[in-house]
């Protein structure tokens, strides 16, 4: 069989697209091209697929198509027991899994009226904030890689590895943590881990100015992000965006501040905002957030010694524990925004319904409107500035 016949056999049906492309094409203008960006695309950070209608290099319309990584977390919630569902939370968002851990565990604790020991709260804050740093570093490296700068990701992963070395001691894993338990955390922080964190904070604090000099002040980066992807506060409102995306548009909203959970009301930190509403604003907010996270970490590590109680409550729920009937909604701030978990229980061993509200999902839903009329190259910049984690979008 020669290569020509191979080409011919597939040529006829190769222009058909699939259901979504055909559905999308119905609204197309004449002489435009329908182009798939993703699922296998390095700058969509996973398997996001965006169908674009392009006129030359300009995007006339864009429609994200989701579900290429739909992993049935909500269905699993109805099948697994209250405890068995915790590992799922480590896999919803691989960037900041501890926030999801916390959202789920917090919702169940709220439902059952469980009080968590003070020390456990401190450990949760420390590990969660370390994880936030790792998440922002991952975003930073990957975003700059999308924009064409390769070196920063090497620096970012260098620092990230230092964080993972610390985090794998109390959580037992490098990436998909599921160390939170209903009523506390799995493992206590030992002396060495605390010392590692204390050593890490000044080192990382020195790196931040270097990142600023190396990347943030770079004219090429500035040209790629400034004025790109403008999202007015109205857009934020209508799409329900949260986290750095909302703060980059001048909305001072952080769940840790506006709806303080756990012990976040004890810490002194600022909620950085930028009024530029563009990708540069979101970039700067995240960079500033890293500095603020270090501040929280410092205070939390200092407070850990004085905290009372153990790492988990006495008489913590057993594996076949039954939650009381009722419902609870719990929101936490993850690296991407507001994570919400709505648990509904009928009083049995398994949850009746679990709804996971993910921030990336709402942030991404605004993309179709924001990307209208921009260059394809800028669409990459916009997608990156939203900091997408696809498993979290698809769940």
């Amino acid at each position: 069989m020669s290569s020509e016949t191979v080409f011919q056999t597939r040529a006829e049906d190769s222009i058909g697209g699939d259901f979504y492309a055909q559905h999308f094409q119905e609204g197309c203008e004449e002489n435009t091209l329908v182009l798939n960006m993703g699922p296998q695309h390095p700058s969509t950070h996973g398997v996001l697929r965006v169908i674009l209608e392009v006129d030359g290099e300009y995007i006339l319309r864009a429609e994200p198509v989701l579900g290429y990584l739909h992993r049935m977390h909500e269905k699993m919630g109805e099948v697994k027991s209250w405890y068995q569902f915790i590992p799922n939370m480590g896999r919803v968002d691989y960037g900041h899994p501890l926030a999801w851990n916390w959202a789920y565990v917090g919702a169940v604790e709220k439902l059952a009226g469980i009080e968590v020991p003070e020390r456990a709260e401190f450990i949760r804050v420390i590990t969660c904030e370390l994880n936030r740093l790792a998440s922002h570093l991952l975003w930073w490296g990957a975003y700059l890689l999308d924009l064409g700068a390769f070196t920063p990701i090497l620096y970012a992963f260098d620092d990230r590895e230092a964080i993972l070395d610390i985090l794998q001691r109390p959580t037992g894993s490098r990436l998909t943590y599921s160390s939170f338990r209903i009523g506390g955390v799995q493992t206590d922080l030992d002396e060495k881990t605390v010392q590692m964190i204390r050593d890490f904070i000044p080192i990382f604090r020195e790196r931040l100015p270097m990142y600023k000099a190396l990347v943030t002040d770079n004219i090429i980066l500035r040209k790629r992000v400034e004025g790109i992807g403008e999202m007015s506060p109205d857009v934020i409102d209508r799409y329900g965006c949260s986290g750095p995306v909302a703060r980059g548009s001048g909305i001072e909203y952080d769940v840790r501040r506006n709806e303080p959970y756990s012990i976040y009301d004890r810490f002194d930190f600022e909620v950085p905002t930028e009024d530029t509403c563009c990708a540069a604003g979101r970039y700067l907010v995240r960079m500033e957030e890293m500095a603020q996270t270090l501040r929280i970490l410092e205070q939390a590590v200092d407070g850990l010694d004085k905290a009372e109680g153990g790492c988990i409550m006495e008489k913590a729920p057993k594996p076949n524990w039954k939650a009381p009937a009722g419902e609870a909604w719990f929101a936490v701030e993850s690296g991407r925004g507001k994570v919400g978990v709505h648990v509904v229980s009928d009083g049995s061993k398994t949850p009746y319904r679990i709804k996971l509200r993910s921030p990336s999902y709402s942030n991404l839903s605004s993309f179709a409107e924001v990307a209208e009329g921009v260059l394809i190259a800028d669409a990459v910049s916009i997608l990156g500035s939203l900091d997408l984690i696809i498993p979290e979008v698809d769940r």
Binding site: D18, E63, L66, G67, K75, E259, A328, R353, S362
Partner: protein
């Protein structure tokens, strides 16, 4: 709860943020959801989530709204019969609702009329399976599932939550 002072609601219940995370639970008739969403839009609320709970009495659609500055979480709830799970879309007011509604269609088979793009979002295209719909035997009465808090006002003939209050009284 001044937003819904002059609005036709079935029931308004004051929840407790510390115990259930929602400040106000507002039950609405099916036809009023778009007007209610518009009201909330002008009061500066943003949409957090739209999702359904499959209960014995029917499909309960929850619309969660939050406010960036006031910090008040409102849950609008619409009960739909299992025979006719159709409700108006609020995607015209909160564009972010489009995806949430499509997801609800995927999981629970709830049809949202006037949604601009009513195709499968997460499941494969034209998939007819709605995985989170429960078998009729496994459905539990909503009164047992919900914890709405104190009932402030209630329309006549609305007795979805009454069973719960009786239980609590006993």
């Amino acid at each position: 709860m001044t937003v819904f002072e002059h609005f036709r609601t079935l029931c308004i219940a004051k929840g407790n943020r510390a115990s259930s995370g929602v400040d106000w639970n507002v039950f609405l008739e099916r036809d009023y959801i778009v007007d209610a969403a518009e009201l909330l839009k002008y009061s500066g609320f943003h949409l957090e989530s739209v999702h359904a709970i499959d209960g014995a009495e029917g499909m309960l659609i929850n619309y969660l709204f939050d406010h960036f500055t006031q910090g008040e979480r409102i849950c609008l709830r619409v009960l739909l019969n299992h025979e006719d799970v159709t409700v108006d879309s609020i995607a015209g007011i909160f564009q972010g609702a489009e995806w949430h509604e499509r997801e609800t269609y995927d999981f629970h088979g709830v049809m949202f009329t006037n949604n601009p793009n009513m195709v499968n979002l997460l499941l494969p295209a034209e998939s007819e399976v709605h995985p989170l719909v429960k078998a009729p035997k496994k459905r539990v009465a909503l009164a047992e599932l919900l914890s709405c808090g104190e009932i402030e006002s209630q329309a006549e003939g609305f007795d979805l939550l009454n069973q719960k209050t009786e239980e609590a009284a006993q």
